[in-house]
């Protein structure tokens, strides 16, 4: 299966391991993520003021490119991009007048027809089927105790949520299909502090401490998530000793499919934990 794919800026710069592991893991499932020939930064946050159409133009331009490449849907991996593209798309679908204004402004491009659907990779995996994913597992991640973390952008606002905003389960289902022992964390949907990591990093340090300690107290040896900004925050802003590795879901998928993963972008190195569980050894033996 081929599907058009929008990477966004962060996956091309500070989170290359997210893109790399996602491409590897989906290939192992027979899913080909085909990068859009041309795309723009989505703006990272959806513009919330009612009169501001200017900041909707970047996401809409990307959606026009999807439409022109013949895609009826586009998949994102970054949670920020997912949220921004999906909210901008929804605004256009629900407000034909706003769509008309934007189309008139973008007179050098073809009109956006408002038909593209925005997906997150997790939704695509659910559609593929967690039982099917289970069949592809070569190295069961048994004994690895991991707490899923969703943050905000996959779940809120409700109109763009890919799961129940208060009690999501998609990451848990995926993790179980890989053999991971899921640890429940009541702070799994709590915001990590997002962009405050630039100017007010003490807020992010405080939230990171709460989220990670809450997982650790319940027996988690690591956290798993999908957002590259949450990853940076939880991975970099852990201060105390005994820090927990933060995995991308795509990295755990790649490992379970017997593929090598580059952890060089991680501040808390997960290799020690993976050796301890015998996971890396099993992958070496397979090769």
């Amino acid at each position: 299966m081929n599907i058009l794919y929008y990477p966004g800026c962060t996956l091309k710069t500070t989170a290359t391991s997210l893109e790399e592991s996602a491409l590897k893991a989906t290939q192992a499932l027979g899913i080909e993520l085909v990068e859009l020939k041309d795309w723009y930064c989505c703006g990272a946050v959806f513009s919330l003021s009612s009169d501001d159409l200017m900041h909707q133009i970047a996401p809409i331009r990307t959606l026009i490119n999807v439409q022109e490449e013949g895609g009826d849907r586009v998949v994102t991996i970054c949670d920020m991009c997912y949220n921004t593209l999906k909210q901008a798309n929804l605004l256009m679908k629900e407000n034909p007048d706003k769509l008309k204004t934007i189309n008139a402004f973008l007179d050098e491009q073809v009109d956006y027809k408002g038909k593209v659907r925005v997906y997150h990779l997790l939704e695509l995996l659910k559609e593929f089927g967690f039982n099917e994913i289970k069949k592809k597992v070569k190295v069961k991640l048994n004994g690895l105790k991991v707490a899923p973390y969703y943050g905000c952008m996959l779940l809120r606002p409700r109109e763009v949520a890919l799961d129940d905003p208060e009690n999501p389960g998609i990451l848990e289902e995926l993790m179980k299909s890989l053999g991971v022992e899921v640890v429940e964390n009541p702070l799994k949907t709590e915001c990590c502090g997002s962009y405050h990591t630039v100017n007010r990093k003490e807020i992010v340090e405080k939230k990171t401490k709460q989220i990670v300690s809450s997982a650790r107290e319940r027996g988690a040896e690591a956290l798993v998530l999908s957002c590259p900004l949450c990853h940076f925050n939880l991975d970099t802003r852990q201060l105390e000793a005994g820090r927990l590795p933060i995995f991308y879901f795509t990295e755990l998928m790649a490992l379970a499919f017997g593929l090598e993963v580059d952890f060089s972008e991680h501040r808390v190195d997960p290799k020690h934990l993976l050796e301890e569980k015998g996971i890396l050894k099993k992958i070496r033996v397979m090769r």
Binding site: T10, G43, A44, V45, S50, D51, E166, S194, Y195, L229
Partner: protein, 130 residues
């Protein structure tokens, strides 16, 4: 005592947010669930009340809208269906559009930011500019 109200300010917040603030019945669910409430100087539900009362200076001088990271927790939970994240954005916008100094973005050297993810930088700058 004569109560001074600034109806124009309320109208502007309602226009920019697309929300009817008078729907708010002050239950405090937004403040109870806000992950950053400890850092705020005025609780979100109180800030809404101050907008309704036309307390423009107090609202525009508050730290609260700048601490709000638009995580939409309050938006999802508000029993009156108010999109509080949009109300916070409207307050930020009113200040930003007057070219008033918003938050303290202090970046002196490129070395200070080059390790940061693009998603953090772009969203931070988006929230600090009009």
């Amino acid at each position: 005592m004569k109560v001074k109200t600034d109806r124009e300010f309320l109208d502007r917040v309602q226009e920019l947010s697309g929300q009817n603030l008078n729907e708010c019945y002050q239950c405090g669910t937004c403040s109870a669930g806000c992950p950053f409430v400890e850092e705020m100087d005025i609780l979100p539900d109180r800030l809404i009340r101050l907008v309704i009362l036309g307390e423009k200076e107090r609202v525009l001088g508050a730290k609260t809208p700048w601490i709000c990271a638009a995580c939409f927790t309050c938006t999802v939970r508000c029993p009156r269906g108010l999109d509080i994240a949009k109300i916070m954005e409207a307050i930020r916008q009113i200040k930003l559009r007057k070219r008033k100094e918003a938050d303290e973005t202090k970046i002196e050297k490129i070395e200070d930011i080059k390790h940061l993810p693009q998603a953090a930088l772009v969203s931070n700058f988006r929230k600090q500019t009009g």
